[in-house]
């Protein structure tokens, strides 16, 4: 028999966790600093560089990126090319670091952090089902991760469009690639970060250890970003959608596997 979710209990766990995390500067500052640098400072600098200088000649660089994109940039002035290339193209996959990092850090705190703070046993003694507790912990990481990602993107769009207006004379963000990244790939990546952390947190004694173990998950994304920037990978719309789908499959597989092992009996055995 499967009863409905106890949303009061789920919300209580989420409120407690988010409230506690928000008071931990060591967790919050890096979590907000990276999105700030990536989504506010970088588009600002690029926009200003495009406004006040002619910018580097990207002619040679265009030869190394996918034709589809190169064709879009070739007939643009050099200053527009820089803005379009960085803000419209390179930043899109790099942006994925935000949901990944935020969800991973929060999940490490939500799962391994309970052991580290020695609060897990008292939590297990409460009348909340294993399933509701797991869902609460997932949402504790997922909801803020998406809030930071989407909030960060809105800021990014504002900064990029405003600062680059004298160069672009139009609103150029969001592009369709950005829309796919934001609405499809970013939630998948946040879930992937969660799935990995659920797995590693079961073995890690502290959230720091979980973060180190889970750090491995960030590598494929960096490879993707580097590949993107050097034209090794063609992340146009269909590929982005496909990559998103693949990440969803892996992420959901990890989460489901994690859920199966998320039982009081297993957790209490490791206390």
């Amino acid at each position: 028999m499967s009863a409905g979710f106890n949303w009061t209990a789920i919300r209580a766990v989420m409120v407690r966790d988010v409230r506690a995390i928000s008071r931990s500067k060591a967790v919050v500052l890096p979590m907000l600093l990276v999105p700030f640098l990536l989504l506010v400072v970088l588009p600002f600098v690029i926009g200003m560089a495009a406004r006040f200088r002619s910018g580097p000649d990207l002619g040679n660089f265009l030869d190394s990126i996918p034709d589809q994109l190169a064709n879009q940039l070739e007939d643009r002035p050099n200053s527009e090319r820089l803005v379009l290339l960085v803000n419209g193209y390179l930043l899109a996959p790099l942006f994925l670091i935000v949901p990944l990092m935020v969800s991973a850090v929060l999940a490490a705190d939500a799962f391994a952090g309970e052991k580290e703070r020695r609060t897990l046993e008292s939590l297990l003694h409460l009348p909340i089902s294993d399933r509701d507790l797991f869902v609460a912990k997932l949402l504790t990481a997922f909801v803020p991760a998406m809030a930071v990602s989407w909030g960060g993107f809105i800021l990014f769009a504002l900064v990029a469009n405003t600062v680059s207006w004298p160069v672009m004379h139009r609103i150029f963000v969001p592009t369709r690639l950005w829309a796919v990244m934001i609405l499809w790939v970013a939630p998948a990546v946040a879930t992937l970060g969660l799935g990995v952390m659920v797995r590693v947190s079961a073995r890690a004694a502290t959230s720091q250890e979980a973060n180190q173990l889970g750090g491995a998950v960030i590598l494929p994304l960096i490879v993707l970003a580097v590949g993107q920037s050097t034209g090794l990978l063609l992340v146009d719309l269909p590929v982005a959608i496909a990559i998103g789908g693949l990440i969803w499959i892996v992420a959901l597989w990890l989460v489901v596997r994690g859920a199966r092992k998320f039982t009081r009996n297993v957790l209490a055995t490791r206390l």
């Binding site: 409230r19 003694h125 009348p127 055995t269």
Partner: protein, 322 residues
């Protein structure tokens, strides 16, 4: 008198971990309003018992019943009705005392207002209301224990599990917590299971004690009944002007009802079958014109019983009180 079904009962409860067997065939019970102490050194299986009884761990074998529910299948129902003070207070340092309690109240189905009202009430009762809005981070161990105890009682549980409630406390804090537990135990017929290796607190609070050793129950019963079985006879210290000589010891020993006698620094120490023997011994001594300053019965304490059990276990690791 009608038989009262126990609030807690276990039958052959067994649980192993990768490190070995933690609990081996535990069978015991606790009645409504009773304080039962689980005694034993670290690793005896006390905490494992609490976790099994609350459905946090699943047994490898055996069964348990708490308030009519099987913790293995109805763990949530059990946890709804029990309160647990874990050895580590288990409070989130980043939250205030009030927030820690309110969170528990919300999980237990209270409205936000009810959780807040009840939390403040309990913090007031445990004399920590002045720190209610402070983060727990700066709290002393005693203050943490009091907040954790308030949390365990937030929903007025029928059964209260206290796992090492005085560990880490200074003597004053220990006294304070023991007094609190004594008060709580008497309330509304609440059953208390007290896990401890501090014998003094168990002796003062528990109606029955269960002595665990390496996961097995070695003795279970009222401390006095255990003492009668393990340490027959009533020890009595007879204070005289000086240590008794051999002739006097022999005279006392020959008195009807005296089991044994030996010289003590200022008199003699004897073991008698019951209190009624004491006046006879005193009369014998007085008839010999030996001044008797006092005759003080010294019934065995829980500590005496416990260490007798440990001595027997040292001699035979398989020993168990029949």
């Amino acid at each position: 008198m009608p038989a009262v079904s126990p609030v807690i009962s276990t039958d052959g409860l067994t649980r192993s971990f990768s490190t070995g067997i933690a609990l081996d065939g535990l069978s015991f019970d606790a009645r409504a309003g009773e304080v039962v102490a689980l005694l034993g050194p670290n690793g005896a299986g006390k905490t494992t018992t609490v976790r099994l009884l609350n459905g946090i761990l699943r047994p490898d074998a055996g069964r348990a019943s708490v308030l009519g529910f099987d913790p293995e299948t109805d763990g949530e129902e059990v946890r709804r009705r029990t309160g647990v003070l874990t050895e580590n207070a288990g409070l989130d340092d980043r939250l205030t005392a009030l927030e820690n309690l309110e969170f528990t109240g919300r999980i237990r189905g209270m409205s936000a207002a009810e959780a807040r009202r009840r939390s403040r009430e309990l913090l007031e009762r445990f004399m920590i209301s002045d720190r209610a809005d402070h983060p727990v981070q700066g709290f002393s161990t005693g203050q943490r224990k009091r907040v954790a105890l308030a949390r365990a009682l937030l929903h007025d549980p029928d059964v209260l599990f206290l796992d090492e409630p005085t560990s880490g406390l200074d003597p004053a804090g220990t006294r304070e917590v023991i007094d609190l537990i004594g008060t709580l135990a008497g309330e509304h017929g609440r059953t208390v299971v007290l896990c401890t290796h501090f014998l003094a607190e168990a002796g003062g609070l528990a109606q029955r004690v269960a002595v665990l050793h390496r996961g097995r129950l070695r003795a279970f019963g009222h401390p006095r009944a255990l003492a009668e079985q393990l340490l027959p006879g009533l020890p009595v210290l007879v204070e005289l002007a000086a240590a008794a000589d051999d002739r006097l010891v022999a005279a006392v020993e020959s008195t009807d009802g005296v089991l044994s006698a030996a010289a003590a620094p200022a008199g003699l120490r004897m073991s008698v079958v019951d209190r009624d023997v004491v006046p006879r011994v005193v009369a014998t001594l007085v008839s010999k014109e030996i001044p008797v300053y006092a005759a003080v019965p010294e019934p065995p304490t829980l500590e005496d019983v416990y260490f007798e059990i440990q001595d027997r276990l040292a001699a035979d690791p398989h020993w168990q009180l029949p």
